[in-house]
Symmetry: C2
Subunit: 304 residues, 2 copies
């Protein structure tokens, strides 16, 4: 029997998830509280496929549900991708938990709201977690799986297995933490980046070049820990012996939250591509990410 | 007339630089204080070319110099790639400044010692800077150009132009700063990464997956600032309005220098590829980096 999942919320993220599950051959039911969003979804899904070279035929696995209950019927997994507002999430999860069969897992795409904030008071809190993708998940495979203190281990096991089954790369967090892993790493790097630009040490372009034409390439191939494991003859312990004191000094002197305040946003906006270019640049980024993903996957086969 | 550069210090970094300049068609003179290193250099250069698919014929531009003065004769640029120890750098720069023609630029590959520390007392301090590559520079193009307070602007201009001429991506820093840009960014990310692993929130593999299969892919294509410029409908100012407070909270709660202390290195070494695998894995990394560089360069031609 073909497995079934439901996508609740059909904005950019929900539609990208629909492609992830559909191309893996699962039945996908989509629903959104806003009739205009759901009416536009089929054409938007088609366009999203075309932009990244995905055959739109996979969309034959996607059906629009008439209401939330119909979407949930027989679904083993709900990928909730609604607005990033706590009061809305609380209402959605109250509805989902009431309507979904007991064995259905309820996973949120939330990037900033932890599951205990919207699930702790519900009878089904043990089947609720965050499955945070990097936008857009049909071209970036990582998914952070973050439990609340109530999430059952068996639910985490099933979440991890499903994500692997559909070709994503699940990263399982041992317990709930603000920002999960990805945005904690992004936050510290951005703080120092914004500070260096605000001090006039480097231009925004120079800052981006340092990562895009430098460290980011190693990180994209290996990740930051595997990178330093190869940066000293004796591996990571040797690296930390040699360079740990320097790295500690640099971190202690680095910027923190204050880097996000002030006029830095307006200063940067003045020299970076303008907001009216964001849609076209985002489409182009996604096409390049899809090509990069293809490159990394085929290249990876040669890994020793 | 063919341009000439000198490589002083022929370890891994010096040899990679020799390939960078040679493949751009420059005359390259190499020299090392250790006769054993210089004796092994031709074979090591040949092997390094083969590993990344570079035709070893470019090595016809490389000649071994009998002594430092011969290496410097007629060179417009010296890429010093000696040991990362201050007392040794001081001696090398005293010799270089005495022996090199006045117009020759003296650039250090140092990753952690700023130019004022070894150049401030020399008559030629105005022509000394750091040109910090990411290892290895023949497969990773970024080069941080960091002046001392004494470095002449015209020297920075010539450094930037030369790096562009040989196909690298120069990032010019406005003034001297500990760690330059790249390692300041790496330090803060590593501190938080080590802390998350030490706390048991995520495994080392999960941490690396989060970047390699997630954020690192965007960073490799765009860099961190161009990434957030596309992560809100109104561009980077909109992003910082929406997510700045969250990012500030996460940075304020992040780990710092203390994350580099303790037993984390030994714990990580126990679960990561062992030191005896480092040489083979590094070779494999370089081959993949060369392929990635080729992919990004050809893909970039389609950039809007």
């Amino acid at each position: 029997m073909t497995r079934t999942v439901a996508i609740i919320g059909c904005g950019l993220i929900g539609r990208a998830w629909a492609i992830v599950f559909a191309r893996a051959g699962l039945n996908v039911r989509i629903w959104d509280a806003d009739p205009a969003v759901i009416a536009a979804a089929p054409a938007a899904l088609h366009a999203a496929c075309k932009e990244v070279g995905q055959d739109p035929l996979v969309l034959s696995h996607v059906t629009v549900a008439a209401d939330m209950a119909t979407a949930l019927d027989g679904a083993e997994w709900v990928q909730e991708s609604g607005p990033e507002r706590l009061n809305i999430k609380r209402q959605i999860y109250a509805d989902l938990d009431r309507l979904a069969a007991p064995e259905t897992i309820l996973a949120s795409s939330s990037s900033a709201i932890v599951a205990s904030q919207f699930g702790a008071d519900l009878p089904g809190r043990g089947r609720i977690l965050v499955a945070h993708p990097v936008n857009p998940p049909h071209v970036i495979p990582v998914v952070e799986l973050c439990p609340s203190p109530d999430t059952a281990l068996v639910v985490m096991d099933r979440a991890e297995a499903l994500m692997r089954d559909v070709g994503q790369v699940p990263v399982r967090l041992a317990r709930e933490i603000d920002g999960f892993v990805l945005n904690r790493l992004q936050a510290v790097l951005l703080a120092e980046a914004l500070s260096l630009v605000a001090q006039g040490i480097v231009t925004p372009q120079g800052l981006d070049d340092t990562i895009a034409h430098g460290l980011g390439r190693r990180w994209a191939l290996l990740g930051p820990l595997a990178t330093i494991n190869l940066n000293a003859p004796g591996g990571i312990a040797d690296y930390l012996d040699r360079y740990g004191p320097t790295m500690a000094r640099l971190s202690n002197g680095a910027a923190r939250g204050e880097a996000f305040s002030g006029l830095i946003g307006q200063d940067l906006a003045a020299v970076m591509p303008a907001p009216d270019q964001v849609p076209a640049l985002s489409q182009h980024r996604d096409a390049r990410l899809a090509a990069l993903s293809h490159f990394l996957t085929s290249d990876q086969q040669g890994t020793i």
